[in-house]
Symmetry: C2
Subunit: 86 residues, 2 copies
């Protein structure tokens, strides 16, 4: 069955406390080449049936209305994984 990937990241202008914590941990470990970390989400939606433009439009609406909190997050990418690639 095809899988649709939806990627969601915290808005660039907002603080990302979890990412800040990881950045701090990397700095304390001496990994100063990593200057920032931001942490978002990756959704895998399994679809029963073909993926067409109408379905992708529906996923876009669902992503904005349900998967992401668009007050603090942006949907940065929606893509299709073929059957079997994971």
């Amino acid at each position: 069955m095809p899988t649709i990937i939806v990627e969601v990241m915290p808005k660039a202008e907002l603080l990302d406390p979890q990412g800040k914590a990881v950045t701090g941990a990397l700095t304390r470990l001496g990994k100063s080449q990593f200057t920032g970390v931001r942490i978002g989400k990756r959704f895998e939606l399994t679809v029963d049936g073909p993926v067409d433009d109408a379905l992708l439009a529906e996923v876009k609406t669902l992503a904005d209305d349900m998967l992401a909190n668009t007050v603090i997050e942006d949907v940065i990418n929606i893509s299709v994984l073929d059957e079997g690639s994971r």
Copy 2:
């Protein structure tokens, strides 16, 4: 500055309660074409300097040791985004 993307998903054989909750919500909304949802994480690491094989090997180690909880999660992908692509 280049950005390294690390993608982490719950292990396939484990329950993903958050994903199950979203699947249930989709079913209740009548979106029965979506048969499953799994929710993972997407890390963006900003790097000061060039990205070479040694750095990618270090990111792989960090991903397994620090970003993912490898008891319940798999690091499924590490990739490099060029400057400016987001």
